[in-house]
């Protein structure tokens, strides 16, 4: 049911009934080691290229879930490489229909929303949702060659290697998606590709405000506000913006997946990022720890929609944020 301008309430909640997460070597040294299902030893994992390793990560995770839920037909996903090639190459041997989105790191949010919409229609009993990212493959696509000796500023973020896929169903045990608020493209005038936090925080703020107004709620109605990959910089900006707008929000209420995955001493600068960042955190720590209690949580996936060519031609970083409410 449509509420307000861009929000929806799901009368048939989408339940996360199963999930599988996979991550790389740097993430293994981080905070979520005990909660991630599988690790790869290095960024190649016996493949010849980074892109093939990215494909293998997706293929392995999808195949594991397909073996447990063989009746699933649709996969809502997307990745960061041209036309989602790792995803499409990874699905060549499955019968899954890919529904891929190009919303960068916000893809997981839009995928969850779209999957919930499909279940709402009563068309399917189960659908698969998930995202994956690969540090070296993304670095090659968006920045400089991996071995190039360049000094990154403290505001930059590190793409997470890994991610998670899950099965959403109309019934079953698990956390439920009950509301969604779709984001719009925001241009707040930021143009530094080494500071994604400041560019994405306004989009996150816009979607949050829209949700609060549409659903007549405040941050106090939720236990946590989990953001995707704002990093330490973006999270601090979001907190100040919410306080400035007059919302009573507690600093401990804000959780950023990018900040949670890695330990403080790890060389990731402002935190993790990437399409797989939020899915990895939510489907490992979220499912295995947070949602064991009875919680009502806002989950916002934020993404920057620029490309290296577009940024050189027009120095603008448009951003977007998609929100879902998860209750357990």
């Amino acid at each position: 049911m449509n509420i307000g301008t861009r929000s929806f309430q799901f009368h048939t909640p989408a339940v996360i009934i199963d999930q599988h997460t996979i991550a790389g070597p740097l993430e293994k040294q981080g905070n979520l080691t005990a909660e991630i299902d599988q690790f790869i030893p290095d960024l190649y994992d016996d493949e010849k290229t980074y892109e093939l390793c990215y494909t293998k990560l997706i293929r392995q995770t999808v195949n594991i879930l397909m073996s447990r839920h063989p009746l699933t037909t649709y996969l809502f996903t997307g990745d960061l490489i041209n036309q989602s090639t790792p995803t499409h190459y990874g699905l060549m041997e499955t019968l899954l229909v890919p529904v891929t989105f190009d919303h960068a790191c916000a893809t997981f949010g839009l995928s969850l929303q779209s999957a919930a919409f499909m279940l709402q229609q009563g068309q399917k009993q189960t659908v698969m949702v998930g995202t994956m990212s690969h540090f070296a493959a993304v670095e090659k696509q968006f920045r400089f060659p991996n071995e190039y000796g360049q000094q990154k500023p403290p505001s930059s973020q590190t793409t997470v290697t890994g991610g998670g896929f899950c099965i959403l169903a109309t019934e079953g045990e698990g956390p439920k998606i009950t509301y969604a608020t779709l984001g719009r493209v925001i241009n707040a005038g930021f143009k530094d590709p080494y500071n994604m936090g400041e560019a994405m925080a306004p989009a996150c703020f816009d979607t949050l405000l829209c949700h609060f107004q549409d659903c007549q709620v405040t941050p106090a109605d939720y236990d946590y506000i989990i953001t995707g990959d704002l990093g330490a910089v973006g999270q601090a900006i979001l907190f100040d913006l919410l306080v400035h707008e007059g919302y009573q929000v507690n600093r401990e209420q804000l959780i950023d997946a990018g900040c949670e995955i890695f330990k403080d001493h790890q060389p990731v600068m402002s935190g993790g990022s990437g399409a797989g960042c939020l899915s990895l955190f939510l489907l490992s720590h979220g499912i295995k720890h947070l949602f064991k209690q009875s919680l009502k949580v806002l989950v916002i996936a934020t993404g920057a929609l620029h490309s290296p060519v577009a940024l050189l031609q027009t120095p603008i970083i448009p951003t977007i944020a998609h929100l879902v409410v998860i209750e357990s």
Binding site: P145, E147, G149, Q150, Q151, A236, D240, L241, H244
Partner: protein, 144 residues
């Protein structure tokens, strides 16, 4: 949307680049690389048949060979994160830019991958370097 507010708040939370530390580090690393280069020069001068004018070529070649090994083993970018301009300004920085691009695009084949992308980063240094020397040569020609 209130872009002015966004920029004011963002300004407050932007972690500043550690300029002083970066300057000191690049001074130390850049200096060490140059001193090391001088040692290589002296080595070639004393043990081989090179003169003060010709010793530059083997010295640069040796420095680039070492850069190539460090880049290939994935060490150079980690040093560069600490050293900044210290590893970028000397000839090792140029070598690293060429070698890193070659390694990165080897997966797309030797001709279109390595050949097509090897000067992806260093290309502008070559173009504008050659152009600048052409202009300087013209000025010299006119003045003398």
């Amino acid at each position: 949307m209130n872009n002015k507010l966004f920029h004011t708040v963002a300004e407050k939370h932007n972690p500043p680049r550690p300029l002083l530390k970066n300057c000191v580090m690049s001074f130390i690393f850049g200096g060490v690389i140059c001193a090391f280069g001088q040692c290589i020069s002296l080595f070639y001068l004393y043990f081989f048949d090179f003169s003060e004018e010709t010793v530059g070529d083997p010295t640069v070649a040796t420095l680039i060979l070492i850069t190539m090994l460090l880049t290939g083993f994935g060490v150079y970018d980690k040093i560069a994160q600490i050293a900044g301009a210290g590893t970028m300004v000397p000839v090792t920085g140029f070598g690293n830019a060429v070698i890193a691009s070659a390694i990165e695009h080897k997966s797309e084949g030797y001709v279109l991958g390595v050949g097509g992308n090897i000067f992806k980063l260093a290309g502008s240094v070559i173009l504008f370097g050659v152009f600048a020397s052409f202009v300087i040569a013209l000025i010299k020609l006119i003045l003398t």
